[in-house]
């Protein structure tokens, strides 16, 4: 009996979490513009989706922004984390405090402060401003992921490598870098996910003309229900599932290799 209630609880919560997504997927194949009763199977929403130039362009911008923001923030974040690790001056505390601000402050405040700055200094809103904004909110997460790795390093590992005859370059790439790599990878992953998923900060720093997927979905959803969005979410959900399965297979392989 206890087990029954336990399973019922899990079932209910999973229903709550997945029902909305499943409904979107089902309706993306429904041959009717309203979300009413089933009116037959169709793929026309998918066809219309791929003919919609705005959505395709938004997808393109989303990817460009995410790739640039992830690359820059991972590089800068990792180098800065090394610098912070070596910091002995009084600067360290205010530096880390400043770095934590984008994590603590609500997105909307980050969005309007950056927007105010861009307009105040007369910068034209567009791709550049979104990318700057994304880099600004991504770097703190990279640093938060990488810094603990540096702090965990043995004290003189770099000098030891040099003493044993490695050139500084070798010591960095062969000794130091592998140690911090897991932090760098997860930092990059966090940055990429945050950038792809961001709506609020992009919304305020985009101006007219440029819009990413989130902004496009928002303006479409505000106008009401639109079956093209259903098709889009089905595709995106499918990609996520494929990605998860791939990650799973890879990590299982990894475990087997270790064994």
């Amino acid at each position: 009996m206890r087990k029954f209630f336990k399973n019922l609880a899990f079932g209910l919560i999973l229903l709550f979490l997945y029902a909305p997504i499943l409904v979107l997927i089902i309706y993306s194949f429904n041959d009717s513009k309203i979300m009413g009763p089933w009116a037959g199977f169709t793929l026309k929403w998918y066809v219309m989706l791929f003919q919609d130039r705005y959505i395709l362009q938004a997808l393109y911008y989303t990817l460009i922004i995410a790739v640039v923001a992830t690359t820059v923030s991972t590089l800068v974040g990792t180098v800065s984390a090394l610098g912070i690790y070596r910091m002995r001056s009084k600067l360290k505390r205010p530096y880390l405090l400043l770095n934590n601000i984008p994590v603590l402050v609500p997105d909307i405040v980050m969005g309007i402060t950056l927007m105010s700055l861009f307009i105040f200094i007369g910068m034209k809103m567009g791709l550049t401003t979104i990318i700057i904004a994304h880099i600004t909110f991504c770097i703190p997460y990279v640093i938060l992921a990488v810094l603990p790795r540096f702090n965990r390093l043995p004290e003189n590992i770099f000098e030891a490598a040099l003493d044993l005859g490695a050139t500084p370059r070798q010591a960095f790439w062969k000794v130091l870098f592998p140690e911090i790599l897991p932090g760098v990878t997860s930092g990059a992953l966090i940055a990429f996910t945050l950038s792809i998923d961001d709506f609020v900060i992009s919304f305020f720093t985009a101006g007219n003309g440029v819009s990413n997927l989130s902004i496009t979905i928002y303006s479409m959803a505000k106008a009401g229900i639109n079956p093209k969005i259903n098709a889009l979410s089905t595709i995106m959900f499918g990609c996520i599932m494929v990605l998860l399965v791939l990650i799973n297979i890879r990590s299982e392989k990894g475990i087997k290799n270790i064994q």
Binding site: Y18, V76, V79, T193, A221, M236
Partner: protein
């Protein structure tokens, strides 16, 4: 490590000054100005933006944001705490599977998740049809207060579950057994051992739900249809449609103050920095 000098961190320091510190200062400065004309170099300092916020209309809006966020946080907690306990009682590999299952929806774009509820709740949607079958007359749940709160609960629920689960998992089961052996009944064990030991998780879970909920404008716009303005909507409106940046800045400062007050209280309760569970990824 002496080969690396701290100054390699300086470029990002400069970046932070330009894109984090200066923008914040600009907005703080804006909030104390009245109708500045920068081209003519005219700006007067004033407190009127903050005074304007003391209007009952805006105070009600502040109260509503606070109320919705608190209700959403409470509902999330009431679901997540028992659920966390249930998950911890599962065998190891099934625990991980369950947690992954709870996180996957988070990977779907936030706006799509909110939009999905628009579909479900709309007049022709499944839930309304279900109510109609039960004999209720047209119940459109979309664009109601409950829809807004539901949207908050749905979107931020995993933020509550993860820290709670992590802190429950850390509790040594022997402690619970020891408590019962020493004569505590189930209720006492729960109240005096389990709750205090999982308090850090509870507090950070509550923070992680409360903060995005109190500052959202997307959920209230899409699921409330703009009928239930929250503080986030007010900020968005002042900046994007009414172009009253000075008032908008003042409201943002009020919002920031609320957030930092709540953060401060959370820190007082747990006595240390927030632990967010760190496993959203």
């Amino acid at each position: 490590m002496k080969s690396f000098k701290e100054y390699i961190a300086y470029p990002y320091g400069l970046w932070m000054l330009i894109f984090i510190a200066v923008p914040l200062l600009v907005v703080i400065w804006f909030s104390f100005l009245s109708n500045p004309d920068f081209k003519a170099g005219i700006y007067t300092f004033t407190l009127e933006n903050y005074q304007q916020f003391m209007d009952p209309v805006y105070l009600e809006l502040l109260y509503r944001s606070f109320l919705y966020a608190v209700i959403a946080t409470l509902i999330c907690f009431l679901i997540a705490y028992p659920l966390g306990n249930l998950i911890v009682s599962l065998p190891g590999h099934r625990q991980n599977m369950m947690i992954v299952l709870m996180i996957i929806p988070m990977w779907v774009n936030f706006l799509l998740r909110t939009y999905a509820w628009m579909v479900l709740l709309s007049g022709s949607g499944l839930i309304s049809q279900f109510f109609r079958l039960l004999g209720f007359r047209d119940v459109s749940l979309l664009y109601t207060q409950s829809a807004v709160i539901l949207g908050m609960v749905y979107n931020f629920f995993p933020y509550m579950l993860l820290p709670i689960y992590t802190s429950l998992k850390k509790i040594d089961p022997d402690l619970l057994r020891a408590a019962t052996d020493l004569g505590a009944n189930h209720f006492q064990m729960f109240l005096k051992i389990k709750i205090p030991l999982s308090l850090p998780g509870i507090v950070s879970g509550c923070m992680m739900v409360f903060m995005p909920a109190v500052s959202t404008f997307v959920i209230s716009n899409l699921l409330g249809g703009g009928k239930y303005m929250l503080i986030g909507n007010l900020i968005e409106q002042q900046f994007l449609t009414l172009n009253n940046w000075n008032f908008g800045s003042a409201i943002s400062m009020v919002l920031m103050t609320i957030i930092f007050l709540v953060l401060g209280i959370a820190r007082l309760i747990t006595g240390k920095e927030l632990d967010t569970g760190g496993q959203l990824l």
